[in-house]
């Protein structure tokens, strides 16, 4: 596919080495991106994907190796990268929440200037959003903090693709669909293809292998800071990709718990006005909350949690635990070590009369480090020294380490690699078998299929309940759209 037109080199990072202390984030990696191609970049958490992105966009200067933009060995750094038309949508959303969409566009696009930039920025983003996500419902005049996490991601993507004077040459998408539902993700992938066909380049990082396989021209696989494969996408399928990344594909060996609902539900929530289905949960069940992103699933989880946990008096026996999806908002404590982040919800069991038993705390957190494979040499390292996926594992361990019988999960697998997901699914199954109940909001269909029972949300309320073999992508989509306009 690559040999038809002589392609121009947009950016090249050759033999790049980056080390953070003793950790080799990049160990002689080479990544060359040409115009008019979409390169898929995959690898486990901590394989070096985010690091190489930071090298390319100029945020990080490698200790060894060369970065060239447009084939010429020119300046380096963020300014040079931006001047060469490199734009980046980060995995951790980077819009300023207190500014409007147009103001954020001004921050990200330095050539949007002069009188009337607000008006032009607004028009630009509106046009671009409509082009990438036709039929979206975002009010382009709103302040970013009023948007849902999916809408923020859409806006950030739109701003990155927007052209003021010059079209961007390379757009780096780091986990762009992590908060988007299937429909929006498909729209984005279609747009990426159109962008590439008109001569632009895209570097696509995603843990959703289907996207990578269907959208990329070429796939680069990274492992332990090195590039282990760089081949046209047609040479890969899911199984080969996962094997190249270094983990063995596990067959979908998931057995839905066959037991019938017995006894009284551990949880029963009356329906909202205007809806008719109660949310009920029985011991040992894994319950999925599905539907399009931002239709009230997160709010439902928060309501459940806040109603069950008192705000004035410590609970004698915590009823529920919560696993955050938006880590920065309601997950991590950024000043703390991994250890303290992990133990905060289970301090009661780790202390005698409120005095913390640090030996026991260390032992328990060490056992979780092994069980859920948190990749760190020392649990006393700061939480922010971990990659995003590993931070997410810590939040998982935090919830599972409690004695709570119900665990609420707010789309926690965002940005977590395939191998880790499989490990966590195993743990979920074991925990459910021992009587724990999970209520799991997920934007990924593969995860919804793992649930025993699924509630599909639409417009803030439960629209349908699916059980057993009815839990299919078609069933969920039908319930998400039924009655309303297909958004």
């Amino acid at each position: 596919m690559n040999d038809r037109v002589p392609k121009q080199e947009v950016v090249a990072a050759r033999d790049v080495k980056v080390a953070f202390g003793a950790v080799k984030a990049l160990d002689g990696a080479t990544l060359v991106i040409q115009s008019g191609e979409c390169v898929g970049l995959v690898g486990h958490n901590g394989a070096g994907k985010s690091t190489i992105v930071n090298v390319i966009n100029g945020g990080l200067t490698p200790q060894e190796g060369a970065i060239t933009y447009g084939g010429a060995s020119a300046d380096q750094g963020i300014t040079a990268a931006r001047a060469s038309g490199v734009r980046c949508v980060f995995q951790e959303l980077s819009l300023c929440p207190n500014l409007t969409i147009a103001e954020n566009a001004r921050v990200m696009l330095s050539d949007l200037k002069g009188a009337g930039w607000r008006r032009r920025g607004l028009a630009l983003v509106t046009r671009q959003l409509a082009e990438i996500f036709p039929g979206h419902s975002i009010d382009c005049e709103s302040v970013v903090e009023d948007l849902t996490i999916a809408e923020r991601q859409m806006v950030e993507i739109a701003i990155s693709f927007a052209a003021v004077d010059a079209r961007p040459k390379l757009v780096i998408l780091d986990e762009p669909t992590s908060s988007l539902d299937a429909g929006l993700a498909a729209q984005l992938m279609a747009y990426v293809r159109r962008f590439v066909e008109t001569g632009g380049s895209v570097l696509l990082i995603s843990h959703i292998l289907g996207e990578i396989l269907s959208t990329s021209d070429r796939i680069v696989v990274m492992k332990d800071g090195k590039v282990v494969a760089d081949r046209p996408a047609v040479d890969f399928n899911t199984r080969r990709l996962v094997e190249t990344m270094g983990s063995v594909v596990r067959e979908q060996g998931w057995q839905r718990s066959a037991r019938t609902k017995t006894g009284a539900p551990v949880l029963s929530v009356p329906p909202l006005p205007g809806a008719s289905i109660r949310l009920e949960a029985f011991s040992g069940e894994i319950i999925g909350l599905a539907g399009l992103g931002g239709h009230g699933q997160t709010e439902a989880l928060l309501d459940l949690y806040l109603a069950a946990n008192g705000n004035w008096w410590p609970a004698a026996e915590p009823k529920m635990a919560f696993v955050a999806g938006d880590r920065g908002l309601n997950g991590t404590f950024s000043l703390w070590s991994i250890l303290k982040n992990l133990s905060i919800s289970s301090l009661k069991g780790l202390s005698n009369r409120s005095v913390i038993d640090t030996d026991r705390e260390k032992k328990v957190s060490e056992s979780w480090r092994k069980r859920i494979e948190i990749r760190t040499p020392d649990m006393h390292n700061p939480i922010l020294s971990l990659s995003g996926g590993n931070q997410q594992k810590v939040l998982f361990a935090r919830a599972l380490a409690t004695t709570a019988k119900i665990v609420l999960m707010d789309d926690p697998m965002r940005g977590v690699d395939v191998g880790t997901k499989q490990e966590v699914y195993e743990i979920l199954r074991a925990e459910a078998a021992s009587g724990r109940t999970f209520i799991w909001y997920s934007t990924e269909m593969d995860e919804i299929r793992l649930c025993d029972r699924v509630y599909v949300f639409r417009d803030g309320a439960i629209a349908a309940e699916l059980v057993g073999d009815d839990i299919t992508e078609a069933g969920v989509l039908a319930a998400s759209f039924a009655g309303g306009e297909a958004a």
């Binding site: 705000n311 008096w313 410590p314 609970a315 919560f322 309601n330 997950g331 404590f333």
Partner: protein, 312 residues
Amino acid sequence: MTALTAKPWVWSFAAAILVWVITVLFTGGSSSVGLSQATLTFAAFSVIVGIGQMFVITLGPGNIDLSVPATMTLSGTLALKVMDVQDSMIALGLLIAILVGVAIGIGNYALIKLLRIPPIIATLSMSFIVQSCAIWTNRGLRIKPPETLSDFTTSYSFGVPNVALVALVLSLAAWFLLEKTTYGRWISAIGQSSFAARMAGIPVDGTRFITYVLCAVLAAVAGYLLASFSGGAALNMGAEYLLMSIAVVVIGGTAVAGGNSNVPGIWGASLFMFLVVSMLNTYGFGAGVRLILTGLIIIAVILAAGGRRVAR
């Protein structure tokens, strides 16, 4: 050595020692014992109110208790009135002071929570009410403290002022509370992100409430000791402790943005604050110059500490 310089409280102690040396050198070494004892005595009051303020500031942006001076005044006034110069009433007086603190703490948090007033306004309005109560109870009469109590607060054990020993015991208790108990973890978590703290199962309101009460109780105890030390309560006795309580927290290396607190730093900063004033006195500066220099020195210390944190 790097482990030592990484501790934020080292700097406040270094500054305190430096100023101490400069002052002692000026007087040719004759004043070293007297200066040290006076410093420890006056620093003790700042330490006690500073610890309370530190707990509140740890709760995160916007949390501050401005009712500290009024609390000190009211608790000193009421306790002396109840004790009425009788040695047998000393314990009861302390109890009254603590109760005053508890009541003011409850009042503060009630304003913050029920009326949804920001802490800075709530505690300031509270301090007007409290100060008026103090004026009303005081009514121009100046009651002396019981003799035993007065002797205790002005004398020394093993050459160390008794009030400094009291402050030391309270500091150790505060350090233990912060570092070793679930409550300490909770306030630090709330200071970093109260939403995340809530979702981790922490009773956020209960913890904040206890913290405001704790701060008011410490201020009340400081007022009780200060009134006994200075031979009677005065209506303006708490005035200088408003800024002092905040300054020692900041100079001591506690994060103003919350979540990270530091007990030893309170000591270094309190000693430093008193020493700066005595140094300028020793050098014979007038009151105006002294205040300006004090301000400049505080700014310099904060800048030095802040720059270090950015560099890390």
